[in-house]
């Protein structure tokens, strides 16, 4: 230890001597262990009032490193204390971009081999030459172990015009490697647990490596991998959060971007998003959602698809009104169980499908032409059962339960199931978005919302079954019940017609006709059954075989795939079509065209943070800008070719047509302010 101190002192002495006696030899490395430091300046002369770029140049032995201003999980950056003549000031250290130096399982940020820490020296007019700039430096040099080092270096500057020497070239080079302001738009999003730094970039595919070096402790985890996702013109870098969080308002740091041999560091400074408020809103939201789901369930009872089934079931109550109260209550409970069971079953199925990565909502089942067709058959059949005196055998107990004066408890369960199934087309248009929200919630909340819906749905029936006295308000059993039952066939068939319309949006008109034909065959089958209710033996077998054949044929008619038609474009006013754009441009109307897809995270974030904001919506309305949405969730050759026209192979793409003119392409990453600036340019 003592020996080293002596050497150090000798070194300083030599350095001072050398700089004093020689004007050629301008600097000397101070060796202090595993690394050494020297001071260099861009010129040995300058005039009073000038600035001077000075650097402290560290040379490290192989395998050793020193630290950046934020050292990462351990270590410490260098400290420089200047001793300067009057009238001279030194800037803070300008740190070149660091590299990652892992010390498993930790991560540190620093420099290997060599590094120059820059300082800008400024002067006023009243200074005396020659000047002596001296710096006391203390730093750590580490490999697996750390060595604290200290050194004092100085340099003499004379009066004269700036005369850039060869050090100036290397200092300039270092200056160019400092972090620059980021020239593109960027923003920070928090999804799930981690942050995502999303930024635009000229050619993201050229990025070979990227990393964000945070400046503050307690925001990000230093050692976890930062996943890079490259889009068309934008990049998303996942920033894992630190296990232990400190209070910070902003995320500050340096973004490293490597494009082959071209390496750049950019300054990033952006607000951190506060979460807790959001959570609060959500918990209030769920409670209201459950209440609304209950009310929604109540309303479902009077929907054309459900009302007939439930009212017929209540009719069976009237017939049974002589029966025991206990039995009625049992029926009520079992019916409710059937309802809840089916709601949970459907919700479970949807959640399971969602977990495979498909983005779906409630009503997803109606996106399938197969499900829609089967429902059309079911509604037709129920209508016919209502209209005729058909009593269907035990194989179809669930249908039997509607009409038969059944004391079988299982029939109540099946009626509950059937009620939910026939209710599903009605829930989709009226409650689709509310139930879609339910599916987005984590498991428990989602189940609570469905439970609320199921309870609301079965509430009237449940109340009646526990208070049969309420039934006394209704007329006595009689002829009117048959009339009512037959009448109820019409809302059923009306529901079938509505489903046909849904189907017509999914498949070609010919396929719709085939499904109608299938419904006809099923009606024929039911008629055959009704005519032969009293026959027996081989004749009955033949009839049954015929009915099965008719059923098979009608099922075979069901279209299984989407077919090309433009109908669904017209189902939604905002739906994009090239003709629509052409027509609007003809009228010199302004258009905002959004190319999006459900699976595109950037699109969804843009829609959430910019497009759906009230301000933006108001401005769109005020400026009479037509909003059109081109949804690329399903494959679509028209949208694909349009994207290609603008040199894109994917979404998002935002086009703003001002008064029928050629469109402006908006940035891929939108913020409310940014979008507003573009919209402001559009004349009214």
């Amino acid at each position: 230890m003592k020996f080293r101190t002596i050497i150090k002192k000798l070194n300083i002495l030599i350095a001072i001597c050398v700089s004093y006696f020689s004007t050629v030899h301008s600097y000397e490395y101070q060796d202090a262990g595993e690394s050494s430091v020297s001071i260099i300046a861009e010129s040995k002369t300058f005039e009073a009032g000038d600035d001077l770029l000075v650097g402290l140049s560290f040379k490290l032995n192989p395998g050793w490193h020193t630290y950046w201003e934020n050292p990462g999980d351990a270590g410490e950056g260098a400290s420089i204390i200047w001793t300067l003549p009057d009238g001279i000031k030194a800037s803070k250290i300008l740190w070149p971009g660091p590299e990652r130096i892992p010390v498993e399982p930790l991560m540190t940020f620093g420099y290997e081999d060599e590094v120059v820490l820059l300082t800008q020296i400024s002067s006023n007019k009243n200074i005396d030459f020659p000047l002596k700039l001296s710096a006391k430096i203390s730093w750590f040099t580490c490999k697996d172990i750390c060595i604290p080092q200290e050194a004092e270096v100085d340099i003499e500057i004379n009066k004269g015009e700036k005369n850039l020497n060869k050090n100036a070239v290397s200092l300039k080079r270092v200056l160019n490697t400092l972090s620059k302001p980021f020239p593109y738009e960027y923003r920070l999003e928090k999804l799930d647990k981690n942050y995502f730094l999303q930024f635009q970039f000229e050619e993201p595919e050229n990025i070979t490596n990227s990393f964000f070096f945070p400046k503050d402790y307690g925001v990000l985890n230093y050692s976890k991998i930062q996943n890079l996702e490259k889009n068309n013109l934008s990049v998303s870098l996942e920033l894992p959060v630190a296990e232990v969080q400190s209070d910070h308002k902003r995320l500050k740091g340096v973004l490293y971007i490597e494009e082959g041999d071209n390496v750049n560091y950019y300054e990033i400074n952006t607000p951190l998003i506060n979460e807790p408020q959001k959570e609060l809103n959500q918990s209030i939201g769920i409670l209201t959602a459950i209440i609304f789901a209950f009310i929604g369930g109540l309303i479902l009872n009077v929907m054309p698809c459900v009302f007939p089934i439930l009212s017929i079931k209540i009719l069976s109550f009237i017939k049974q009104s002589g029966g025991s109260r206990q039995k009625l209550a049992q029926h009520g409970l079992i019916f409710s169980t059937g309802v809840l069971f089916t709601f949970f079953l459907i919700a479970g199925l949807l959640l399971a499908i969602k977990s495979t990565g498909e983005s779906i909502g409630w009503g997803y089942q109606l996106q399938s032409p197969v499900v829609v067709s089967i429902l059309i058959y079911l509604f037709t059949a129920i209508g016919i059962v209502f209209m005729t005196n058909l009593t269907i055998g035990s194989q179809l107990a669930q249908l039997g339960g509607i009409t038969k004066n059944s004391s079988d408890l299982s029939s109540s369960f099946f009626t509950g199931m059937l009620a939910v199934i026939v209710a599903s087309p009605c829930t989709a248009p009226f409650m689709g978005s509310a139930l879609g929200l339910a599916l987005l919630q984590p498991g428990f909340s989602s189940i609570s919302i469905f439970a609320g819906l199921g309870l609301g749905f079965s509430a009237p029936y449940l109340i009646l079954s526990f208070n049969p006295s309420l039934l006394q308000a209704l007329p006595k059993p009689g002829e009117w019940m048959e009339t009512l039952k037959q009448f109820m066939a019409f809302p059923m068939w009306a529901s079938a017609i509505w489903l046909l319309w849904v189907l017509s949006g999914q498949v070609e008109i010919l396929s719709v006709i085939l499904v109608l034909l299938g419904a006809l065959l099923i009606s024929l089958g039911l008629w055959l059954l009704e005519r032969n209710q009293l026959t027996s033996g081989y004749k009955k077998r033949i009839v049954q075989a015929c009915v099965l054949a008719l059923l098979g044929l009608s099922l075979w008619f069901i279209p299984t795939e989407y077919q090309n038609n433009n109908k669904d474009s017209y189902m939604n006013q905002n739906y994009y079509s090239p003709e629509k754009v052409a027509a609007l441009r003809e009228e010199n109307k302004s258009i905002f065209l959004n190319f999006t897809a459900d699976w595109c995270i950037t699109c969804k974030v843009n829609e959430a943070v910019a497009l759906s904001r009230q301000n933006i919506q108001d401005t769109l309305k005020e400026k009479d800008i037509t909003y059109l949405k081109a949804d690329w969730t399903k494959k679509d050759s028209v949208i694909a070719s349009k994207l290609a026209e603008y040199g894109r192979t994917g979404v998002p793409l935002y086009l703003l047509f001002s008064k029928g003119q050629e469109p402006i392409i908006l940035p891929e990453i939108l913020t409310e302010d940014l979008l507003m600036n573009y919209l402001k340019e559009v004349p009214k």
Binding site: A74, G75, A78, S138
Partner: protein
């Protein structure tokens, strides 16, 4: 029954996720058992009812060395004992790395440095260090009588540039501040600070 089990396992796995990460200030700390420098098994549970201070250490680390050569660490230990706290030094250095010592060396270090830890524990596998997310030497943790983590981070505010030339007796000692606040049943104001020092020499 199977179904209920499944749900239980699912719920458990959600909660487990959080305990595997670092311990948050204000949460219960995980229990552990390690051998001390006298070969005796020491578990955290033994000290329930007392305030416990955990000090991650490595005598070869210049940061630690400065805290001991200046007498700052010993002074903190002495003060902590006056508060009735238990002081546990933990060495997570893997064999062959800096700071790894034998029982005898550890006891000699305690004696020669005039240090006063109640126990010096060995964590050569690094499991406990990783469990607590100890990053540096020194890295300090304070656990209250109920087993709740009240403080984690640096020993004081001397970290940062130019540490080696600082006068540690003038630094703001976070550990003693926190102890003071705990004794007086106050909230610990600076409950989480940035630890500074050498990296813990974990087994890789």
């Amino acid at each position: 029954m199977k179904f209920i089990q499944l749900i239980f396992i699912f719920l458990l796995s959600i909660f487990m996720n959080t305990t595997f990460a670092a311990v948050k200030t204000g949460n219960n700390v995980p229990e552990f058992t390690l051998l001390d420098s006298n070969g005796i098994k020491i578990s955290l549970l033994e000290f329930k009812g007392k305030t416990i201070i955990l000090e991650w250490t490595n005598h070869g680390c210049p940061f630690v060395a400065k805290h001991y050569s200046s007498g700052n660490m010993q002074n903190t230990q002495k003060n902590a004992k006056e508060f009735g706290a238990v002081w546990i030094s933990i060495i997570s250095s893997a064999p062959g790395t800096q700071g790894y010592v034998t029982n005898e060396e550890a006891n000699n270090l305690t004696k020669s440095r005039n240090a006063q830890p109640d126990h010096v524990l060995f964590d050569k596998e690094g499991a406990i260090g990783r469990l607590y997310d100890a990053k540096t030497t020194p890295h300090m943790y304070i656990i209250d009588a109920e087993g709740v983590l009240k403080y984690q981070g640096a020993i004081d505010d001397a970290g940062g540039k130019g540490f080696m030339s600082k006068d540690l007796s003038k630094a703001n000692n976070y550990v003693l501040n926190a102890l003071n606040e705990i004794i007086n049943s106050k909230e610990v104001k600076d409950h989480t600070t940035k630890p500074y020092g050498c990296s813990v020499k974990y087994k890789s």
